[in-house]
Amino acid sequence: MTAEFGLAALWFAAALALLQLVAGALALNPRGASLAAVVRPAAIVQGALALIAFGALISVFAATDLSVRLVAANSHSAKPLLYKIAGAWGNHEGSMLLWVTVMGLAGAFVAMVERRLPERTMLATLAGQAFVSLGFYAFLLFASNPFERLSPVPPEGQGLNPLLQDPGLAFHPPTLYLGYVGLSIAFSFAIGALVTREVGPAFARAMRPWVLGAWIFLTLGITAGSYWAYYELGWGGWWFWDPVENASLMPWLAATALLHSAGVLAARNALRAWTVMLGVVAFSMSMVGTFLVRSGILTSVHAFAVDPRRGTFILALLAIYIGGALTLFAIRAATVTEGERFAVTSREGALVFNNVMLTGALGIVLMGTLYPLVTEAFDEKVSVGPPYFNPMTAFFVLPMLVVLAVGPLLRWRRDNLARVRGMLLVPGLLALAGLGAAAVLVPGKVLPMIGLALAPALAVASLLPLRGRRLRQVKLPLWGMVVAHFGIAVALFGMASDSAFTTERLVAVRVGETTPVGPWQIRLAAIEPVAGPNWTALEATLQASYNGAAPALMHPQAREFWAPPQNTAESALHTRWNGQLYTVLGEQAEDGRWQLRLWWKPFVPLIWLGGMLIALGGLLALTGRVASDVRRLVARDKIAYRREKQGR
């Protein structure tokens, strides 16, 4: 019953999206103005129904209802409950349901709280949101029904890919989706503003918190995903330029650019058309990414649910939504004047540079992701890997980081570099000293060298906007910027340090033997069998001693899952303030020795610490913006109330 209930909720939600679209579009015309009252309630109920459908799917997964095809294909009665629930979105259909649920909820949320925009723009925005949702509802209902029944009912499910059975991964897709799909709000805002030609500071101020919210989740999702790949895959790497990773990076780059250009639009009424276009591009990148991953058009280690028919469906949705939005942009952007002018040396100028570089990096990643496909058209198969991506993105990102040090110190509209030169002396000298030190420490490795040199200078420079201010009076959005920029410096240092200083060893040792890696001495103390709920494993006990200190115990495992049958290597990590020791247990050789893969990675945790700081910066800025919006609303209500009283 639960499955049918969920399916019914999904149909009703789709019907309400249709109502929301039609009513919203008609209400834009004066003759249909009476329909305007329908739009917000429709958006709210639609979100609630989508949530109910998603709840129904979770419930059939939690109960392991094997008569539902999706459950039978992706779950197993012996799985821990957490992974049964996570199984609901660990597959194509369930994750698409999560997608429309997030879209519906985001639309409902906007309908409930957003009061800053002119009402007509709001109607167009909600109609746009419904229009996009409708396509994804159709996709679910006609091509990816998650509630389909299976007959006869199988005695047992096929299980969830063991790699996905990890607490980190259980919450990774929902986080990422809140980010991806949250950007749909920016997309709909852009559509709404283009339709009513209301692109200005008010539009930017209304859009910014929504973009920030989505961006925070996206940042967290990418950070968590990178850490998950790092410890779960057992390869010791943290970013592989895999199409799926690129699919999450591209919307992030676009959203980051959008945040900064929306700031210019809100403060200075400049970059109007550009900001609207980024609003369209950010969510478009979410959809393009989903398409690339789901259609099986590119091979990826993450690829799931590869089905060309589905690919065609999503491609049709892309053509309608992105093509439609970009056409609207091309027609209407000419009527959106560019707004206020500014000098090249100004806060705006620096932010434009940031935007151009971020967009450049986005283009590079998109090209690298699609390149294998393009060359295949000419009958050549190539693989594009780090040798392309690393230098090409660095080409755009490193200059951007230099400007990042300067930009926040500049004044709006027009400034003089001579004014900020004094402040930049310290970071400048630090960068030079760092470059010298890095040239000695890691000769020949150009990118890690630049990263190591730049990171400390950037960290200092990111704090400069606080100089001469009373810290307790600094507004939250400024704190947010400082923390996020500092986070970038921290992450950069982690990345550069990982490439420059990692030591790796592959050894074969007997129980009782000791082997070194970097400053560590690792003793293989024992190998013992252990059992989990749906796996058995051989577990090593390692005594890891740092420079002769008391040893820490580590337990890497070679796991054997039995539903579905698959072997995984569970790495064991030991974190110190100055780095991480990473151990993986391999096979036993014929002579009785055990293979161990050992890495000593100085400062590698800074990568994810930096990612979290970046997200924290976003959270601070969001809190500050929302608080000031609420204050403004309350003040406005008070004035209105007083006027009403006086009028009586």
Partner: protein
């Protein structure tokens, strides 16, 4: 300095259509990608074919370069790899096991630098007899390899007998040894 509208979007009319034009190109490319016949036949097309003529310079000072003429006499494995490829490091123990079992292994390093390669070999072991530097990926494409790592079984007359795509897992080792044996008969 004079005021100038330093906007990423220049004011002219046609630039507004640029994003749409780029998107249309994207749709064209992926539509072709979706409609094409999945070209899974590429690997098998080369099986039974003699190796193309090539002569690669040495990729590292420690080992000699690699040419078609080197594949004469005994069946050999040809491993396509790169120091920047992570699954290549993952398959290193299996290559070592193959070498220990008597397989002769030659390497083709794709778009690599000799320093990186030397470090890779120092870290992961060096089971190779020769290593050729394929800096443009030409030989890789000519033998029908579309990624790294891939491993080919070449018989004593220089004919490709088998292609293994992806990293060599522990369970593939006996299979590859069997293919080598077959190629020798």
């Amino acid at each position: 300095m004079s005021d100038s509208a330093a906007s990423p979007v220049p004011g002219s009319r046609w630039t507004r259509w640029l994003p749409l034009a780029l998107f249309v190109v994207f749709v064209g490319v992926v539509t072709w990608g979706l409609l094409r016949d999945k070209d899974d036949t590429v690997p098998s097309r080369f099986i039974g074919q003699p190796l193309p003529q090539f002569s690669l310079p040495a990729a590292t000072d420690a080992k000699a370069g690699l040419a078609t003429a080197d594949f004469a006499g005994k069946p050999r494995l040809l491993n396509v790899f790169a120091s920047w490829c992570i699954p290549c490091a993952a398959e290193a123990p299996q290559l070592a096991a193959l070498a220990a079992a008597g397989a002769e292994i030659d390497g083709v390093a794709i778009r690599d630098h000799s320093d990186d390669l030397a470090a890779f070999l120092a870290r992961n072991g060096n089971p190779y007899t020769r290593i050729g530097a394929d800096n443009l990926g030409k030989v890789q494409l000519a033998i029908g390899s579309s990624g790294v790592p891939e491993t080919f079984v070449i018989d004593g007359r220089g004919v490709i007998r088998y292609q293994h795509i992806g990293d060599i897992r522990a369970e593939d080792v006996p299979m590859l040894l069997g293919k080598l044996r077959d190629a020798g008969q």
